[in-house]
């Protein structure tokens, strides 16, 4: 394998502002291959914006984003879609497509205008549905799904793009604890089985500690800390960034680190 350089995405001095508001203030970092990378930080710290820049959804003010060492502007939309799939936070699902129809649309970047659907296309779609346990939902209409089901369907659609990178924007925010664990377990499985690199913005510090391999902590549009989740989420850093009193302890069930938070605000 030639592509073992390990650097999959590279941000170089990335700036982006929304009106007068500087959202990304010089992001320089790399995201490596085959791992669960979590991006955390307070509301408005620039997590979602950073994720969108991987997909060229926003014009860059200054700086660069590289994907496989190639500038992201050198990719066509379809090429980009074959490299990376996004599970956005704000997709409302206000359409009457069936689950299978929607997931099949993930094949758009792989099929020419006049080419018919191949066996490979069908296999990828079925496989994506199996991975996300949505096969039994395939003839249901999107508006009939529950929140957790819809989230899995959107992941399945992104998987149908056969991407090497799967990016998710707060995929667990609106889910109950059971479905949160279900989604995060699924992402772990995708990394080990399909060798996909996962990049995921998260709010929940304990999920971050339990599931990620590497964590980027953003605040005010800058990367404040980066490294293993245990090294990033210390009591001191949590106090500084979130202004909360926290204790790091061992989760008695998993043996991994977990955060306990005092129910008063910092000061």
């Amino acid at each position: 394998m030639k592509n073992m350089t390990n650097s999959l995405i590279k941000f170089k001095d990335l700036h982006w502002s929304y009106g007068e508001n500087l959202v990304l203030d010089g992001i320089t970092s790399t995201i490596s291959q085959g791992k669960f990378t979590s991006i955390i930080g307070p509301n408005g710290s620039g997590k979602t914006t950073l994720l969108k820049h991987i997909f060229r959804l926003l014009p860059v003010d200054s700086g660069h984003v590289f994907l496989n060492t190639k500038d992201i502007n050198a990719y066509s939309r379809k090429e980009l879609a074959r490299e990376a799939g996004l599970v956005p936070q704000n997709e409302k699902g206000l359409y009457l497509f069936t689950v299978k129809e929607l997931i099949k649309m993930g094949r758009y970047a792989h099929t020419g205008r006049f080419s018919r659907e191949t066996k490979h296309d069908r296999d990828v779609v079925t496989e994506s549905m199996k991975m996300t346990s949505t096969l039994h939902l395939q003839d249901k209409i999107i508006t009939e799904l529950s929140g957790g089901e819809f989230q899995r369907v959107i992941i399945s659609r992104a998987l149908a793009q056969e991407p090497r990178i799967l990016a998710l924007d707060e995929p667990t925010t609106y889910l109950d604890p059971h479905h949160q664990v279900e989604i995060l377990q699924l992402l772990k499985k995708l990394i080990s089985v399909k060798k996909i690199s996962v990049i995921c913005t998260l709010h929940d510090l304990n999920s971050t500690l339990a599931f990620s391999d590497r964590t980027l902590l953003l605040n005010h549009g800058r990367i404040q800390h980066v490294g293993s989740p245990e090294s990033v989420l210390t009591a001191e850093i949590i106090k500084k960034i979130y202004n909360l009193n926290a204790v790091i302890m061992k989760n008695p069930l998993t043996g991994k680190s977990m955060v306990a938070i005092d129910n008063t605000l910092g000061d």
């Binding site: 997909f55 996004l86 997709e91 497509f97 129809e101």
Partner: protein, 348 residues
């Protein structure tokens, strides 16, 4: 709510052929309706005589031949064409603006086309263009300006229903005042101008068929080339782009095609409202939103709807007729209110 399973591809083909035959049959039956009493049997004889032998037997009334071939035939063909055009354009506008309340009439694009034609006729711009094409070109210029204004007024992307509808209302107000001004300064040509703002097929002739047929058919056919892009547009801008859609380019091409189709329809029939709102909506509810499947049905249903509306408009009163635009609005306005009050106004 259940929709017909989309994997039943051959079922859809059979259904489509059956419905096309039903449309042809309806066309034949409706040809025999009208002020002059021509029986269905006589209609069949005159139509088949005209198509197959180009001669008619002695016992057939000559004026009936004229009425059927020069008056009613172009009229039913145009009414079908215009319905198809409006249903197709409505489908595309709903996808482009990702909004089920879009329709060329509600957005003011039909009014733009009508104003273009009226202005072209009054200023003599139309005379500058040779042949019959001055009409559709004036309509297209008016319609494309209205389309671009709506596009920028409503905030380009991810248009909320209210901002889109308000832009449409503003556009319609603006154009109707321009139209009044035009009427005021050209009182001698009121008849001519007012025709475009009140849709009707009463002046249908073969020349108008010749204008509408190629533009509308080619426009509709080219939409099938973009069927997958239309599907992706329903998903939403950001998701569609991450799935590989070149959003800006596709949106502009589709805007031009659907505006062209609308302009062609308006230039041969004036403004006929709500067809582009009702038909795509009902068809999506029955077969789902996938354009490869729903677009052919929507086009057939649109043609059938205006054919019926026009037949009703010209045969309900014994001696005169009602403009067909009034009939479609009578059906469309309550539907519009139903959509507004319903949760479904968000769902495509």
């Amino acid at each position: 709510m259940k929709t017909i399973k989309s994997n039943s591809h051959s079922l859809h083909i059979v259904m489509f052929i059956v419905l096309s035959l039903v449309l042809c049959l309806a066309l034949l039956v409706f040809l025999s309706f009208g002020t002059a009493e021509i029986s269905f049997r006589e209609t069949i004889r005159i139509i088949s005589g005209g198509i197959f032998s180009r001669t008619f037997s002695e016992d057939i009334n000559q004026s009936h031949i004229y009425i059927l071939w020069q008056v009613r035939m172009p009229r039913v063909i145009i009414s079908i064409l215009v319905g198809m055009a409006l249903a197709a354009a409505g489908t595309v506008f709903q996808a482009i603006f990702r909004n089920p309340m879009s329709d060329p009439f509600i957005l003011g694009i039909s009014s733009g086309a009508a104003f273009g034609v009226a202005l072209g006729a009054v200023t003599g711009f139309m005379v500058l263009i040779p042949g019959i094409w001055g009409l559709p070109i004036s309509a297209f210029v008016g319609a494309i300006i209205a389309t671009l204004l709506i596009y920028f007024l409503s905030g380009k992307m991810q248009t909320s229903t209210s901002s889109l509808l308000l832009s449409g209302i503003a556009m319609n107000f603006f154009l109707s005042s321009l139209m009044s001004m035009l009427l005021y300064f050209n009182r001698d040509r009121i008849e001519n101008i007012i025709f475009w703002s009140m849709g009707s097929f009463s002046s249908a002739n073969w020349d108008k068929c010749l204008i509408g047929l190629p533009i509308i058919l080619l426009g509709i056919l080219s939409l099938f080339y973009f069927r997958r892009e239309l599907d992706l547009l329903l998903i939403g801008d950001e998701s569609a782009r991450t799935m590989g859609l070149s959003l800006k380019r596709v949106r502009i091409i589709l805007l031009i095609i659907s505006t062209l189709i609308t302009a062609a329809a308006v230039s041969i029939s004036g403004i006929i409202g709500f067809v582009g709102l009702i038909i795509p909506h009902i068809i999506r509810m029955i077969v789902g939103p996938k354009h490869r499947v729903m677009l052919p049905y929507a086009i057939l249903a649109g043609g059938f709807f205006t054919l019926c509306a026009d037949t009703f408009a010209r045969s309900i009163l014994p001696s005169s007729e009602i403009p067909v635009g009034i009939i479609t609005s009578l059906a469309g306005a309550p539907f519009f209110i139903y959509l507004l009050r319903n949760k479904r106004r968000e769902i495509l």
